[in-house]
Structure formats: C-alpha cells, structure tokens
C-alpha cells in the first residue's frame, strides 16, 4: 500500500484534550498537528465533534485508535472498523495509527494495550488484521510498538524483527513510540539502542514521546510504567535525538493523557521537540 499523503510537516504536535478545546480556538497556537484518540469521537454528536470540527479547520489531524485489538485472537470488530471509517471520512486525518496489542476478549473490551507473543501464528493474524483495516479504511495504518512489562516464553521473534516482517508483508507504516522503547528495555533488561539498531526505521512516519512512572516491586526491582501522566523524561529526549539522527525529522507527538496540565505546558514540550528537529535539519 502506498504511503498516505500527509499535510503533517515533520514538526511537533500534541494530543487533543477536552480541557484545552477553548484555549486552542482562542490562541490558535503554532503547532504541526493535533492527534485525537479515535474512540473519544465515536459518540453521535455534541461538543466533542463541534470542537474537533472547528480545530480541524486550522490544523491537520492524526487519528490514533486505541481499541481495534489488532493483536487479538478473534476477528476484528466490523462495527468498530465502520466507526473508524466514518471518522476518516468526516475529519480526513493525515495520519492513522493503531497499536501492536490486543484489548477485546470474550468478556468484553479490556481497556488497555495488552501484549501478545511474537510467533508465526500471531504474525499471520496481525498481518491479516492490518490488511483488512487498510483495505476497509483505504488508508495506510501506522503500527505502534508497545510498552512491555514482561515477555512471553512462547515468542520466537524479537519484537523489532516481528514488526519488520509485518511491514514487509502488509505495507503498513510505523509509529515509533520512543518512550515505549525505553520503558520496555528497562523492564525486560534489554538495550534501547540495540532495539533501534534492529528496527525498520525507514518505515517510521511518526514519533510518540510521553512521560513514564516508576513503581518498585516487592523484589526491590524498579518497573517503569507507560503512564502518560508526566513530562517526557530526559533519557527519552536523548533517545529521541538518537532516533531522529537516523530517520531525519518526523512528525512528533507529545502524548499526555493523565494529569493533563495547562495547554502552555504541552506547547513548551512541543517546542522542545521542534528544537531537536531543527538541530537535526541544521546538522544535515
């Protein structure tokens, strides 16, 4: 599948939060794009759609799904695909992304991005789900790498190799979450740079940066949580610069879903991302 044509420049954007709707329309801050969680706009009507329509007039939109369950064992929910399609039609997003994860179970929707083992069988089903999604929506899907707290014994692929194979088979693009690389590497005792070395970087179309939490296990071991509730950590900014040095400038999202601060704080982090991107342009 051909890469989606994008009006999103390789600059920073932020996640669109209801708390900021009014400030955004009043201030019209300089920003590359807004990213929305698709599921938050699956209600029939009301203020969320009104504000999004108004903001869409001034900014490109990146549509980020969290509930499609691409990695799940069951078939994709066609109703959910239809809801995504109507958002694609209505808001004409420049980028569309989803996760290498599952969330739908026979008991219902489990509201997290849950991990899957990396095997020949899971590769088949993920590829088939991505192909189905791209066909149905008529747009390229950018697949996001997960944050991990543990790994499956049954996995026979390394994550980066698994993702590279998905790209090769489906023609999807990638959304590289740099915080997730950092969190997973810390939790699984692996090297973030080795992950980046193995990762199919030439297919990355967007970057995510987010804050993390740390908890201490009973064993005394520190575990990083992909919590999206704080500023981006300095170590993640360093890793981001290392990624951008290899990929060149890419649209970069500051993700904040919990403890949402004033708009100005997110714009300050977006400017920091823009400075990294500009340094890279000057160095090139």
């Amino acid at each position: 599948m051909a890469a989606a044509s994008s009006n999103i420049q390789p600059s920073a954007g932020i996640g669109l939060k209801a708390e900021h709707y009014r400030s955004i329309l009043e201030q019209k801050p300089a920003l590359g794009f807004f990213e929305i969680h698709a599921e938050n706009y699956m209600g029939a009507g009301g203020p969320p759609h009104r504000y999004l329509s108004a903001i869409r007039e001034s900014y490109p939109i990146s549509l980020h799904g969290v509930g499609l369950s691409i990695g799940g064992p069951g078939p994709l929910d066609r109703g959910h695909l239809a809801r995504l399609k109507s958002l694609v039609t209505r808001y004409e997003p420049d980028l569309f992304s989803e996760h290498l994860a599952w969330s739908t179970h026979e008991t219902g929707y489990l509201s997290d991005l849950l991990p899957l083992p990396y095997t020949g069988a899971t590769l088949e089903r993920v590829c088939s789900h991505i192909a189905e999604t791209q066909d149905f929506l008529g747009t390229q899907l950018l697949l996001e790498n997960p944050s991990s707290y543990l790994s499956f014994e049954e996995s026979s692929y390394a994550e980066a190799d698994f993702i590279a194979e998905i790209v090769r088979r489906t023609g999807c693009g990638l959304l590289l979450d740099v915080n997730n690389i950092f969190v997973s590497a810390q939790n699984l005792g692996t090297s973030p740079m080795a992950y980046i070395d193995a990762y199919p970087l030439s297919h990355v179309r967007e970057i995510h940066l987010a804050g993390q939490d740390v908890i201490t296990e009973e064993t005394g071991q520190a575990v990083l949580i992909d919590a999206h509730g704080t500023e981006v950590a300095d170590a993640v900014w360093d890793l981001y610069a290392a990624v951008i040095a290899r990929t060149g400038p890419l649209p970069t999202l500051i993700e904040r879903d919990n403890n949402v601060p004033p708009l100005e704080d997110l714009l300050a982090e977006a400017r920091r991302a823009d400075r990294v991107l500009n340094r890279m342009r000057q160095a090139a």
Binding site: E39, N40, M42, G43, A44, G45, G46, P47, P48, H49, R50, V66, G67, L68, S69, P73, D77, G79, H80, R83, S103, T104, H105, E106, T107, G108, Y109, L110, S111, D112, L114, P115, L116, P117, T122, Y149, L150, S151, F152, E153, E154, N187, I215, E217, E218, V223, I225
Partner: protein
C-alpha cells in the same frame, strides 16, 4: 507465560496471577474503567467520596466489562448496580443521582439535530392541535425520582447548597441539549405527567386530559409555552 493464561488473568480479576507483573496490566484495565465511570458520574463520586466511589466502581467494572472500545457508552448500567449495592444503601438517593447523570451524559453526546422552534406550531390550525404527536429531541429526557436528585445535582453545579435541600422529597426533572450546553431543570409534577405522556407517544389532547385528571388546575397555555421553551422537541406529526 502463555497467551491463554495471560488473557484469563487480565479478564478475570479474581483469577490467579501467573506472573506478578501481570498485576500492572490488570491495574491498567481497572484504572481506565474506573476513570471512565468517574468522568460519567462526577456528582455520584462527590456524594460518596473518592475511596468509596473507587471501590464501588471497581466492583462494577470487575463484573461488567465494556461491550466495545467506545468508553463513552460504558457505565449505562451503573445506576442499577448502585441500587443493588448494599454498602450504598445509606445514601438512598445515590442511584437516582447516577441515573440523572446518565441522562446528562446521553444528552451531551446525543446526535446534533435542530430543536423545534418556539413558533413552530403557529402554522398548525388550532383545531388540529389536539391530534399532534411530538418527536422528542435525541438529547431530551424526563425523569421522576422519590428523592430531590435534580436539586442535588444543581447543588454541585452552583445551585443552592446541599444543606438547603430536603433530599427525601420527590422531584421531576427534564434534561436536554439544544446546542452546546446541557440544560437540566426541575419541573412541577403536573408538567412531568404531561411531558411523560407526550414522550410515550400520546397525542397532545390525551396528554392534556391525563394531566388534568391528576392536576385539575393544569394550565394548558403555560404548559405548551413551557414545552417549547424547554427545547425537548425535534418535530411533530399531525
């Protein structure tokens, strides 16, 4: 760790955790569902406090997973769960406050369609009014409660404070969202009987007759003006 084992442990919160770190995933799921309920039922939470609400919401979420990834739709059954939740019995109005918050939430996310204009009936010949039936706006709802839940809700949104409310008195409420703002009003018992009859599809004449049967001083002119100013209607059929 096997995939099937993992699925079971995240879906069933009483199941054995095959690995201690699985608790992180289970907590993420539970925190997201509890948070969805906090967002939908903020007054309910304020009435019982964070800790009580968290425990109650987690118990609901443990047994009631969302049917889809659209969390906007999650929690419609929470008021009924509260009604049967023994520890909440000390707050007799809690379930009805939650039911009212459900109506607010549905109004907020309802389809955007224009309301019937205030002068919409001027083109209808007076002799035809009796046979009119109304289509209610997708955001509109009427509710009755054995408790003063409209006043309780308003007390948490800048209205007269809780200590000024006799919570044990019945109340009748309408909710609608004509444009951006959800409007919530306490109405008279007579208005409720009238509006509820219309909402059930009765003709205007039948709704008036029913209201007058229960409330002999029911004033038709005032009620019809009120009906249109409450923005409850989308259209009518004659």
């Amino acid at each position: 760790m096997q995939e099937v084992e993992f699925h079971r442990a995240v879906a069933d919160w009483s199941a054995h955790l095959p690995h201690p770190r699985m608790r992180i995933y289970r907590n993420n799921v539970s925190a997201a569902l509890v948070n969805a309920l906090k967002v939908r039922f903020p007054v309910t939470e304020q009435l019982v406090g964070r800790e009580f609400f968290f425990a109650m919401a987690r118990e609901y979420a443990s047994a009631n997973k969302p049917k889809s990834a659209v969390l906007i739709e999650y929690g419609a059954g929470f008021p009924d769960f509260i009604r049967a939740f023994a520890p909440a019995a000390a707050v007799p109005y809690l379930a009805d406050v939650a039911a009212l918050e459900n109506l607010w939430w549905r109004a907020y996310h309802a389809e955007d369609v224009p309301c019937l204009a205030a002068d919409a009936l001027s083109s209808v010949a007076p002799e035809q009014w009796g046979s009119l039936r109304f289509v209610f706006h997708p955001s509109a709802a009427v509710m009755q409660s054995a408790h003063a839940v409209g006043s309780i809700w308003l007390a948490h949104h800048g209205g007269p404070p809780m200590n000024a409310i006799r919570t044990g008195l019945p109340e009748f409420i309408v909710v609608a969202r004509p444009r951006d703002e959800v409007i919530l009003r306490v109405i008279s018992p007579a208005s409720f009987v009238f509006l509820d009859a219309l909402a059930r599809g009765n003709s205007l004449a039948d709704a008036i007759e029913l209201a007058q049967l229960h409330y002999p001083d029911f004033d038709i002119g005032t009620q019809i003006t009120g009906l249109l100013s409450l923005h409850l209607l989308q259209g009518y059929t004659s």
